[in-house]
């Protein structure tokens, strides 16, 4: 769906002469990235509205996007798998924020925050076959992802201390989701290696 739309828009841009024919593939890729980002943002906001955590859902999207861009993690093999899995993950996270807000205990969000933070420190960045990183990029993005995760944890703890629990819950859920994607990505990489012994 997104690929078709990206192809349509890129062909139109090429016909108007705004982009060169050599760059069609590049702009098609760019439109795909942009459209999926907008689509998932809308899904997050709509779910946030239904679960009555509108602002928290936007905050979750921002925190998760920042973390995911640098930390990486598992990816679906096809576009349709991506659509289903991403929206399912967003649904679980937005519902999770609602559940955490209804619960008075600090332990569940604290555990999610700590485990997610630990996974990011240990496993990031995790690249893919489609977009491999150089050694320098790996070093740089590890530092970026750890800094972002640390800032989110500090923000969560400080806001919880002054009584703004919403930010604490968003941070816990976004760190936990990123941690889970990193663990799943690492496991998938190991299983691929063990499938092809030397």
């Amino acid at each position: 769906m997104f690929t078709q739309f990206a192809t349509y828009v890129t062909t139109w841009l090429s016909r108007t002469g705004v982009i060169q024919d050599d760059d069609i593939e590049l702009y098609q890729y760019g439109f795909f990235i942009l459209l999926t980002g907008i689509f998932h943002f809308i899904i997050t906001v709509v779910l946030g509205f239904f679960f009555n955590v509108f602002c928290e859902s936007i905050l979750f999207y921002i925190m998760f996007t920042l973390l995911r861009s640098y930390a990486g993690g598992i990816h679906a093999k096809t576009e349709s798998q991506c659509l289903v899995l991403s929206d399912l993950a967003i649904l679980i996270c937005v519902a999770g924020i609602r559940i955490l807000q209804n619960s008075s205990s600090i332990m569940p969000p604290l555990i999610l925050l700590s485990v997610g933070f630990g996974c990011i420190l240990k496993l990031s960045p995790l690249d893919t076959e489609e977009k491999p990183l150089t050694t320098e990029e790996r070093r740089l993005y590890k530092m970026h992802s750890q800094c972002i995760a640390l800032n989110i944890v500090i923000l969560a703890v400080v806001t919880y201390a002054i009584g703004i629990n919403g930010i604490f819950h968003c941070a816990a859920v976004s760190l936990a989701l990123e941690g889970l994607l990193l663990v799943a990505g690492k496991m998938s990489k190991y299983s691929q290696i063990s499938d092809y012994p030397e």
Binding site: T3, V9, W12, L13, T16, V18, I19, D22, D23, E25, L26, Y27, Y29, G30, F31, F32, I33, L34, T36, G37, H40, F64, T65, R68, S69, Y70, A71, G72, G73, I74, H75, A76, T78, E79, Q81, C82, L83, L85, S86, A89, S124, P125, L126, D127, T128, E130, K131, L133, E136, E137, L140, Y141, S145, L181
Partner: protein
């Protein structure tokens, strides 16, 4: 009308270039499908 279309095309191009710049300087794309990156994406990288 033609002028309007040209303007729209230029805005679309600029927006996509921002997305490409962001993607070129990150580990993966945000959601759970990473298409194969085009070779010329490297020109949007800050460190080459």
């Amino acid at each position: 009308m033609k002028h309007c279309k040209e303007m729209l095309a230029k805005i679309a191009k600029a927006t996509v270039e921002k997305a490409l710049q962001r993607d070129a300087n990150s580990t993966t794309c945000v959601f759970i499908y990473q298409p194969k990156t085009p070779q010329n994406l490297n020109r949007f990288k800050k460190s080459k």
